[in-house]
C-alpha cells in the first residue's frame, strides 16, 4: 500500500527495542537521484533528530517503528542540518520542467512505506512519476516536461 507524505507526517516514532515513544515525524528526506527515502526527521528546530532509513524497522499506519533509541542522531553535516530544518522538503517546492516551464508546487509525494521507494510527485492536478525527476535543489525540483 502506497502512502502519502501528507498523511505520514505527524506520525509517532516508537522504539522497537523499548516501546518508548521517540518523537513525531516532521520531515521525510529523499535522495532524488535514487528516488528513495533516506532518512526521517523527528522533532523541530534545535531538537530535531534524524534516523537513517535502514534503522526504520516498520513504517506502519499508526506508528513508525525504529530499531532503537540510539538510532536517533542530531544532524551530522550541512546536508542533514538543511534536511532537519525542512529546507530540502519536496513538498511545497516549485516544480520546473526541463523546458523551463513552472508547473506549480509539489503538494504531496507518494511512496512505498515498506521499501522507502518514492513513486509519484503530486503537482497540482498532475501526478508525475518519480522517474521523471531530473534533479532537485533549494530553488526547484526539475522534471522532464510532461507530454500534455
Amino acid at each position: 500500500m502506497s502512502e502519502r507524505f501528507s498523511s505520514a507526517t505527524g506520525r509517532r516514532l516508537v522504539s522497537r527495542a523499548s516501546a518508548e515513544e521517540l518523537g513525531e515525524l516532521t520531515h521525510i528526506v529523499v535522495d532524488v537521484a535514487r528516488r528513495q527515502v533516506t532518512a526521517l526527521v523527528a522533532g523541530k528546530g534545535r531538537k530535531a533528530v534524524l534516523v537513517d532509513w535502514d534503522q526504520v524497522s516498520g513504517f506502519g499506519p499508526d506508528a513508525v517503528m525504529v530499531t532503537d533509541e540510539s538510532a536517533l542522531h542530531p544532524p551530522r553535516d550541512d546536508h542533514e542540518s538543511a534536511a532537519a530544518d525542512g529546507k530540502l522538503d519536496l513538498v511545497g517546492k516549485r516544480v520546473l520542467s526541463d523546458m523551463g516551464e513552472d508547473l506549480g508546487e509539489t503538494s504531496d509525494v507518494v511512496f512505498e512505506p515498506a521499501s522507502g521507494a518514492v513513486e509519484t510527485l503530486v503537482v497540482g492536478a498532475r501526478e508525475l512519476p518519480a522517474t521523471s525527476v531530473l534533479g532537485a535543489g533549494s530553488y526547484a525540483v526539475v522534471v522532464k516536461a510532461p507530454a500534455d
Binding site: L96, M99, G100, E101, D102, L134, G135, S138, A140, V142
Partner: protein
Amino acid sequence: MRLLVTGSAIRGLPVVTIGGGEDVAEVRDLIYDPEAGRVVGLTLNKRGFLSGRRREVLPARAIHAIGRDAVMIDDEESLILPQDAPDEVGAPPSGRDVTGNEVLTEQGKSLGKVKDVVVLVGSDGEVVGYEIETGSGGIGYIPLPTQLAVSGSALVVPDPTQDFVEADLVGLGAAVDEFRSRLGMG
C-alpha cells in the same frame, strides 16, 4: 501552434541547473546575432535583489531550453568567462542591436520599427520573429525568415511578411509555420 516569448520577458528569468535544481544566475540580456537570426548567448546577473552583474556568459549551445519561467542549463559549468567563450558570445561585434531598425519589404514598404526579438519557447535561442512598432504607433509581431539582409539601420524582409503582421504572440505562434511553408522554408 508554437509558444513564443519576447526578449524582454526573458530578461530577469532565473537560470536553473537541471541536475541541481539551483538558480545559479539570472538573465541580464540577450546576445543576438541578427544575420543568423538567433540568440547566440546570454549575459548574466547574480541572483537576488540588487546583486549586480556576473562576469560569466552563457553560450546558447550550453542552453538546454529557454522557457517561459526559467532558462534551463545542465550545470553551473555552462557559465563561462567571456574570454573562454566563442567571440560572437564573449566579444560580439558592435552595431548588432536591431532595436529601432526599420523593417522594409523587398518592394520598399515599411512595416515599422523593431522593438524586440521573439524567441521560440523550449529552444536554445531560436528567434522566430520580431516585435515591431507599426507606423500608426501600435504593436505588431512579424515572423522572420532564416536569411535576411541587415544593414545596421534597416532590415529587408520578404514581401509576404506584410500579410503576417500579427497583433499578438499567440497569432504569431500560429502564423510562423504557415509563413515558412509559404516561403518554401519547410
